[in-house]
Amino acid sequence: MISRIIGRIGFYGLLGVLLFYAVFPFYWAVVSSLKSGSAIFRVELLPSSPSLENYRALFAEQSFARNILNSLIVASSATLISLLLAMTAAYALGRIRFRGRSAVLFAVLSISMFPQIAVLSGLFELIRYFGLYNTLIGLVFSYLILTLPFTTWVLTVFMREMPRELEEAAVMDGASPLHILTQVFLPLMGPALAATGLIAFILAWNEFLFALTFTLSSEQRTVPVAIALITGASAYELPWGRVMAASVTVTVPLIVLVLILQRHIVAGLIAGAVKG
């Protein structure tokens, strides 16, 4: 009995520690972002005189609003293009048996495991060749390498789970494959498209290596690069308050999104993991 109580206490203790480890960084980022001037260098669990100065500076003194807009444009374009291409591919991979199907699936999966650095010099050449260096289009283009294999894979999984009767009835009526895809499956794939699109959007929104390498001017930067490259008066003096304000600004919408759509996200993530 006593060992059971100790076990319970240990269990909840561990849970408490894990929860603290998970949540405290957010709390600290919010608190730090509200401290201005030298207050940031004092460790206080609640700011004694909270101020929004860091947020004002973030938007007034640098192009952070522009960076957010860039990220929105790039991530949503990459997501939309991926969904469009992946949807037709998923119909072929999920509904039709043909030779070479496993080979295509294997290739798609392999590409999603590529180290990004392995395509960096080749992509750089391509982007420069088309004159897309330091443009948002160049980024959209390179992000497809992240989002397209993922969306193809996940939509294929969802597509396979659609009941066969749906398609058979349409085939009997002599409907063309394109008609079946757009009129029969598309209306039913809404939740699947939302889940897949949301995760693809987050993948593109969070990307750092390509955005860092393929952009030059601060007007073309996406949010992760802008945050990574915030600098102060000297190299040794990072404006931590402003960095924290930027972190909070981009994290809050994501948290809201995740809380609202968590069921869809979990479904998409699990479909994305290969079945063993």
């Binding site: 894990l18 480890y21 998970a22 960084p25 957010f26 600290w28 730090s32 940031i40 460790v43 291409l85 037709t88 072929a92 991979l93 999920g94 039709i96 048996r97 199907r101 295509v104 699936l105 495991m113 590529f114 180290p115 990004q116 650095i117 392995a118 395509v119 010099s121 080749g122 750089f124 050449e125 420069r128 283009f141 390179s142 397209l148 193809t152 999984v157 396979r160 066969r164 494959p177 929104w205 969070n206 750092f208 290596l209 949010v223 992760p224 945050i227 990574a228 972190s247 981009v250 994290t251 995740v258 809380l259 968590q262 979990v266 993530l269 699990i270 993991a273 290969v274 079945k275 063993g276």
Partner: protein, 302 residues
Amino acid sequence: MAQQRSTAAHQRTQTAWLFLTPMLAALLFIAAWPLLRTIAFSFTDANLSDLSTWKFVGITNYSYLFEDPLWWRAVGNTLLFTFISVSLETALGMVIALTLDTHLPGRGLLRAAVLIPWAIPTVVSAKMWGWMLHDLYGVVNFLLLSVGLIDRPWAWLADPSLSMAAIIMVDVWKATPFMALLILAALQALPLEIYEAARVDGIHPVKVFLYVTLPLIRPALLVAVIFRGLDALRVFDIIYVLTGNNENTATMSVYARQQLVDFQDIGFGSAAATSLFVIVAIMAMIVITLGRVNISLGGGER
């Protein structure tokens, strides 16, 4: 009749390839071609400032690369990072998944809470932790000092013996939720009857976990570990933001990017990038063969 059916099957196959073409063309263009170009560059002396003039140098880049102690340092750092962080993430992910699998009040909220570290950009999580680990003003040193665990502030990100540990701690924070969710999905697919039987027989929960749960979720667990492991081998963001190009923590991706972009040496950097690609490919093949993981979408009954 058989004739008719085979024509229909033939048409279906044609449709399949037609529908696949746009996606395959895009992947060929943005993934396969750049990869081949990177491999080709690795045998040249190409420079970033002018990619059109280069000459073939054979395996010179590779022989220099394999003689560079910093490269081997980066290989070692990558393997160390991958092994420790994936082990910790799996163990912690298991604990969290088992917790979420019980009928705890408020577990829906907990499930949403563990998604958040996964959803935020790695750069943001690295910056948040970078500030917390600041040697002079960081809250981590403050807390540890005030409870007496350390007697002077530690330079978490500058001290060579601490920086890798600090980076792993941040990565565990960021990636454990993902592991927990995948393990949770596997747990929730298990039949409840077995647990009912084990409870009736009075078997200790630890034994149930070791002899029932673990073997049953092994395939799903293995897949999660492989994916996470391959992801960790190419780690870049978290290390670049926390410690830059510092050799104590630089991984293969960081090393390769430094050569490619900072030193503008496309030939040499491509050799490093190609080596990373080969290492990842070999690792993937080894674990898939040894673990007998079936990388397919189940059967092809349709």
